[in-house]
């Protein structure tokens, strides 16, 4: 897969989330997964430093605040504090970042997971159902950020039930999961 943005289609239970969890290194598997000749099984830390994953239904410890999670991501991904602040501003989350995650609505939780995924420099961005629960403004920000990362030569994988707006995001390929196989459409 070359750089660009790709849409993974497939109905419920087809295995989109499982596929993304495998690529993100969250689920045990047999076989090999690699990015730029870095294998997940052989060099998990180097591999994971090349990916960013935003889950469909993000779960975080509810006693933490958004900022505590963000600080942790900045620290782990050696990211820039300023760009993280811009991201929270873009998603209109700055006012809520000192609140505990337990007080967040599902949309806010989703926005937080997107902010965390965009924090730091990685090669591959994986977004599992990024369009669910977020409002129109946040969707526009998401498309804009994906386009920026695309221009920077990154790869973006998106799974979505909703149709992706072709006028705001041009896709380099569409894949479908059928009978446990990923097929190019």
């Amino acid at each position: 897969m070359t750089n660009g943005s790709y849409w993974i289609k497939g109905g419920n239970g087809k295995g989109k989330t499982t596929l993304f969890k495998l690529i993100a290194g969250q689920t045990p598997f047999t076989g090999t997964i690699e990015i730029d000749n870095i294998f997940l099984h052989k060099n998990p830390v180097a591999y994971r430093s090349k990916i960013s994953y935003a889950e469909a239904e993000p779960q975080y410890p509810d006693f933490l605040t958004g900022n505590e999670l963000l600080d942790y991501y900045i620290d782990i991904k050696k990211a820039d504090q300023k760009s993280a602040a811009i991201l929270t501003d873009q998603f209109k989350m700055t006012a809520f970042m000192d609140n505990k995650v337990s007080t967040y609505s599902s949309g806010m939780l989703k926005k937080l997971s997107l902010i965390l995924a965009f924090t730091g420099e990685t090669e591959l961005y994986i977004f599992d159902e990024p369009l669910i629960t977020i409002d129109k403004e946040a969707t526009a920000v998401l498309y804009q950020l994906i386009n920026t990362r695309k221009r920077e030569g990154k790869t973006i994988l998106i799974s979505s039930h909703q149709e992706i707006d072709a006028t705001t995001l041009t896709l380099n390929g569409i894949f479908e999961i059928d009978n446990q196989k990923v097929i190019r459409c």
Binding site: Q26, F29, V45, E55, Q59
Partner: protein
Amino acid sequence: MLKLWLKTFGKEFYKQHAGLLLIIFYLLFGWMQSGGIFNYVLSILLTLCSSFTALLGFCFFLSLYGLKCLVFISQKLSALDYTFVNISCSAKKKTQLKNWLGLYCILLFPALLFAVLILITSLYYHYYWSAIIISSCVILLLGGLTLYTFRKVNYGFKPFQSLSANWLTVKKPYWTWTIHYVLKKQILMFVICKVLSFIVFTGIIWMFADSGNDIRVYLIALLASVIAHSTLIAAVLRFERSSLAFLNSLPIGQCAKLLNNILFLVLLFAPEFILYSIKASLSVIGAASAFLFSIVTLLTLRMSLYILGDNMDSYLKFIFCFFLAGMFAILTNQYLILSLILLICNMAYHSYLFYRSKL
């Protein structure tokens, strides 16, 4: 209505706490021979009836257990799959109260059974004050729990004044997350584990008081204290698997993960180790080997849950076998070798899990 609540709340409660209850049962009665159980139980009951402090201690345990049940019910009531309970609000007040009382009686059954035995013993041996104290405690506890739950279900729409102090917010670095989880979400289990741990530790020290300053006695006490933490370790691992799963896609090295786990275990076991250091006047090497032994055994309990797949029945069996193996190693003075073997095995298994995307 009660039938349905017993099938849901009751079944779930005993399923979740079977391990803890069985461990307490083992620790209290497991070491007794079947012939001596009656005299043993009677002596405990008489001690509780005759000693005001011991009885207050039992009342404290009873309240703690009641609080545990209350927290469990409250958590379930706020869960989405338990919203059906709100339908009970349409029943008469008396029916609702009766059902909640019935549910709490079932949840508190093991402790209530013991309280009834204390009551009978105190009446039989003419300790009337003890009878009054224990019956008042049971009535107040059951009444309080029933009324509180009734109010919570029926008047949950009334705004609740939070007592949290926002000015007291402290930043939580990554290595403190599991500690925060234990102190905020599992505080009751934590207190129960610590009380149990303290009791078994001092109990074993008293039991072998005539053995002098033998390190093996302290190590057996530490081993029992470690095992008292088994359910808490399982709860922490469950939390890590659900709420900290997102860490698995972050570039964190296996050494950092292992050290973080060990740091948590050290902090968790620090009170016992301080107690141990005060009680035992051992050499630096003795203290270091005891520290290594206790941390490695805690780590083994944690790692065993990965192999056993969070199966609590198998976990309990493993704990029993592990306790016997640990006792044997201590009695034959091979505890240091056992610690080193377990440390190597744990590190190797941790590495295997890490490279297989299981950590």
